[in-house]
């Protein structure tokens, strides 16, 4: 069996050796790879053994992975959920088996019996970036295309609605609540008509493309959108990779002066581009921060015996819009 075995080098200060599992939604993009690596790194500092299982974006597989951890009697489970609702039964059965579940990166439904969710707030990140962009653009018209990740993906939905909310809030000067309401309407219009506009805010999205979170698909989607809308002012995106593809598309099309705005992410490459001014902003979504905080909570529960019930529903890492102004400050959180 794999239960016993060698104890990993560090953490020799007499700490009990725990086994933790990390049920990861996917490993097909750098963010998740980093997140897994960081969780392993921090947990191993405590001498724990970490098993990472990857669901490949499939909720059925995610449930299977959770069940595996429960059957193996892990001491604690980290979870990066694919969907907030679908995973609730899995979390609850872990809780029933006495295994605390800490959500990382993705939120889950409120009723789930988890410890807490540690994440960078997609909505707030998007909103902050949107606000920053609205401030930059001032009274000018925004005619944007948006590159979305995968259809049906919740994080993507939160990110783009956040962006819309921030832009509308900044442009119209309305309250945050009001902005969220308008943003949801905007999103609904986009999803039913393929285009959306808020006349008052002089903000319109003229096309949505699906880039599957990757650069190459982002490129392909952006090419068609740029061709159809050569007069666009802005390329919005739900992550950095897709926008890198969009930048290539813009370059190929000879379209210049387009602002590139990511709702959330934080690839080093994006930070570099922000530095030299060719990329407007990205929201801070740092796997390092999430992993650090998550493992810290795990240690409090496992080692210090703190009550898992005592945590708040969510534990947010600081949201931030990273622009030319503050990129140096956050540079080390890139991945």
């Amino acid at each position: 069996g794999d239960a016993e075995g060698e104890s990993s080098g560090s953490g020799g200060d007499g700490e009990e050796k725990f086994e933790v599992g990390f049920a990861l939604k996917t490993q097909d993009s750098p963010y998740f790879v980093s997140l897994a690596e960081k969780v392993e790194e921090y947990a191993e500092e405590h001498g724990w053994e970490v098993t990472v299982l990857d669901a490949g974006g499939d909720v059925q597989q995610e449930a299977a992975n959770m069940e595996t951890f429960i059957a193996q009697g892990k001491d604690l489970i980290f979870l990066d959920a694919i969907e907030p609702d679908a995973v609730v039964p899995s979390i609850d059965s872990a809780a029933e088996a006495g295994i605390p579940v800490i959500n990382l990166d993705s939120g889950v439904a409120e009723e789930a019996n988890d410890v807490t969710t540690v994440y960078s707030d997609n909505k707030q990140n998007g909103r902050l970036v949107g606000l920053a962009y609205a401030e930059k653009i001032g009274d000018e018209e925004i005619k944007a295309i948006i590159l979305s990740g995968a259809k049906g993906n919740v994080a993507g939905y939160e990110r783009r609605t956040g962006l819309f909310a921030g832009i509308i809030e900044g442009k119209l000067g309305v309250s945050e609540d009001e902005a969220w309401k308008l943003a949801e309407e905007f999103e609904a219009e986009l999803s039913s008509k393929g285009k959306a506009a808020n006349e008052e805010a002089k903000f319109s999205v003229v096309g949505q493309g699906w880039g599957n979170w990757t650069e190459e698909e982002g490129l392909k989607a952006a090419e068609d959108l740029v061709t159809a809308n050569p007069d666009l002012t802005t390329a919005l995106g739900e992550n950095d990779q897709m926008l890198f593809g969009a930048m290539t598309a813009l370059q190929n099309a000879g379209v210049e002066g387009v602002d590139v705005v990511a709702a959330a992410d934080g690839a080093i490459e994006a930070f570099d581009l922000i530095k030299d001014g060719s990329y407007f902003a990205t929201g801070l979504n740092s796997p390092t921060l999430v992993a650090e905080k998550g493992v810290e909570i795990a240690k409090e529960i496992l080692v210090d015996g703190k009550d898992p019930e005592s945590y708040d529903e969510v534990t947010l890492t600081e949201p931030a819009a990273i622009t030319e102004d503050n990129v140096e400050e956050y540079y080390d959180f890139g991945f």
Partner: protein, 329 residues
Amino acid sequence: MEATERKIKSMDATRRKFDWKEFIINNNTFIILLLLIIVSAFLSDTFLTTMNLRNILLQQAGPILVAIGLLFVILAGGIDLSVGSIMAVGATVSAILITDMGMHFSMSIGVAVIIGLAFGLFSGILVAYAGIQGFVATLATMTIARGVAFVLTEGRPVKVEAGTISTLVSKDFMYPIIWITILLIIVFTIIHRYTGYGRKVIAIGSNETALKLAGVRTKQYVMSTYALSGALAALAGVFVAARSSTGSATVGMGQELDAIAAVVIGGASLMGGRGFVLNTVAGALILGLIGNIMNLMAVPSYPQDIIKGVIIIAAVLLQILTSKRDRTI
């Protein structure tokens, strides 16, 4: 007539003496499954725990049903790529009916299955009556069904209240989906083996022209296999929704390939006419077990793909080797 008698005698002789070779040939899928179970038990302590076995059954109930539906399509010489997407339709429709329409969950299951059947019927009509190759017709249905699932949910998973559809996986009711699946396995084994319907499906996969000339309206039967496959896929989708209390449009992505692999590992011929329900179930379980044991052993996910591929090849090779008869051109 001497020759005939002689042959019959020699057959009787083999009937008396147990023929090991024949036995292995006829049961190689089950033998592979057994081997895999034994190996898994050695590799991981957790494997043979009740909880893990129950998990496997709960996880594989859906894939098994999908594979059985697909088997009937394949027996009749077709192929169905739409099953994964129809699962999504099943999952989302049942969730929406309960959550947004307030329908009783048992009704919603029925409606979901009927809608899945309708999608299957659509493919079936395209294949049987419009003459489109099954691969293409169901590829189109696959795209359409996925689109429908997304449109229905507007891209956001639909939450279902606890205690409704989740009854299907409730411990208090002895995990209904496991029993439903076992029941359906029995039913479809009988249909395949002991009814005129099953016989006709097999015959169509062997030589549709001959059957037409024997007075069978084969088109209806071809169509019916797709309808059956759609209905079972939708039910499998409902199972997924039940397990997660959520109906999501992303359910079942890629499931079609796993299901086809299950049918083939179960020894069916993709040319039609040959295949068995229980072997298909074993095929689905083999695939499920491979995933389960690699998870238990915490094989990192990237190499998992590689190992899975290699094991599929090994399983099929083993099957071919054990069933090798004489060489002919």
